[in-house]
Symmetry: none
Subunit: 304 residues, 2 copies
């Protein structure tokens, strides 16, 4: 299936910066140096001439142009303008909060909280901005009409997969999640036309998930990938690609931010599916809510 044209391809509205950091890992080393400069200070980059930027990134002008093309721009001037626009739009003076960065060693808890919350909230917002409604619509459509939905995810993404499974289950859709690769493979082999397989992987490089998704695809199921990196291997085996927009920070913080972003996307899909048949979904939800009622202890206290 070679260089699949992909469905969501060119759509890159909201954050150019986000978009760039998303495909950062798919860029060549020299281009990455350029990308990092750009992401670090878009406004400054917009002011520089191409030669200037190339020098700063310790590379040639040619590479800068290649970088422009890689991120979907026609040329350097276009990039410059978009960059200027982006930079102007972001209103926030993030003062003390360390944007996208690591937590400074001496930080006190208040700082830590502020930093984490800021990055987490950003990941959610930016993910929503760059999410392509058209692609989502198609995925929702597929899920709503699927005979059965398999959801795959390993490690941290496994939680999200499981969450999605549970959500769909609660509105009466037949959905499965398998913590175990072998079981998942078996299940995938049983999928067919009209079924849907969703693979979740932050990096998009988790071989287990890719493998299972591929299996599902060869069986004729519609495959959906949810990843942070639009050019990662998992996108090769997916009919639809949905991306999150957690900026790559360190492994630690990035992990949670990306999880939140994934959950947000999942929630959007879920609500989209539920909205297709409001009354039935609502009824199903109420039924399941009732089911756990006996495990609830008397209401919250009024006043103290």
């Amino acid at each position: 299936m070679a260089k699949s044209p992909k469905i969501s391809a060119s759509h890159e509205p909201g954050g150019l910066i986000v978009h760039i950091s998303g495909l950062l890992p798919s860029l060549s080393p020299a281009e990455q140096r350029v990308a990092r400069l750009v992401v670090a200070d878009p406004a400054a980059a917009a002011r520089r001439t191409i030669t200037d930027l190339a020098t700063a990134a310790e590379t040639s002008e040619a590479t800068v142009i290649r970088f422009c093309r890689s991120v979907g721009m026609d040329g350097y001037p276009q990039l410059r303008i978009r960059l200027a626009a982006e930079a102007a739009r972001r209103v926030e003076p993030p003062d003390a909060r360390v944007v996208g960065g690591d937590i400074p060693p001496g930080a006190d808890l208040a700082q830590i909280i502020a930093t984490i919350a800021f990055n987490d909230a950003r990941a959610v917002e930016e993910t929503a901005e760059q999410l392509d409604p058209a692609t989502c619509e198609q995925v929702v459509e597929a899920i709503a009409n699927a005979g059965r939905i398999d959801i795959y995810g390993a490690g941290a993404s496994g939680f999200v997969a499981s969450d999605f499974q549970q959500k769909l289950h609660r509105i009466g859709r037949i959905a499965f999640y398998f913590p175990d690769v072998h079981t998942a493979l078996t299940s995938a082999a049983l999928l067919g036309r009209g079924d849907v397989a969703v693979g979740i992987s932050h990096t998009g490089t988790t071989s287990d998930v890719i493998e299972v998704l591929e299996q599902a695809r060869t069986r004729g199921a519609v495959t959906v990938a949810l990843t942070n990196f639009p050019r990662s291997p998992i996108t090769d085996v997916a009919d639809f690609v949905l991306t999150t927009a957690a900026r790559e920070t360190t492994y630690r913080s990035g992990a949670t931010a990306s999880r939140l972003a994934q959950l947000t996307v999942v929630d959007c899909l879920f609500v989209g599916v539920a909205a297709r048949n409001r009354s039935r979904a609502r009824k199903a939800l109420e039924a399941t809510a009732e089911a756990v009622l006996s495990h609830r202890v008397g209401a919250n206290r009024r006043r103290g």
Copy 2:
């Protein structure tokens, strides 16, 4: 050209457009034509090349340059960038996202996405705002020094509990999570002074979790509750109460927003604990990351 002193270049505040239309009458006829085009549609002008703009204004490039100088810019590229920035800034803030409300029946997916993301992001931000650093500090302290940490949560909160467990485990803390109430009760009975028990429940009324937390407390463990409702029953059995701030919307959307908020709090605690011993935590994290490396497939693709 030792002519008019012009408006002192470099510093001219926010409104470049305003500035230009202000000195419009002082410009020569040909320059005025240029100015009018620019003022009429700054964004479009920013996209044009100098030759293009000159043609559109029925004049020569030279005049456009003169115009640039007249309004205090160094040259055309500078003008372009400023223009792009200006145009971007005057972008209307979020249109009709239904704040905190339910999704309207006829909503299309784009609206749904915007609404969900907005509420999710808000939940995270507001949770962080109302989180008490002092309480967190004490909880972190307790966890960092605990002999062992038990984490309880049922249903959706179970995912969060599990996530927390995994996080702590990854930095070498001894932590447990039990999907099953009975096992959890057994475990709680084995806790003692110096141990920590964390109970997670969005509503704060989940009897299973409360019960287990109570058990843990009677055994002398430090008990921590994470809930959205500061007056809910679970707070009665907790030494420390941490609250999330997901606005109560409907059951459906509230569920995810509160999950995100919970995850954020958990992440804060986690980072707080990890920060207590950076080098060791970092080493542990790197080791665990390496462990899954063999399950990663080759890097992201270059180019499309």
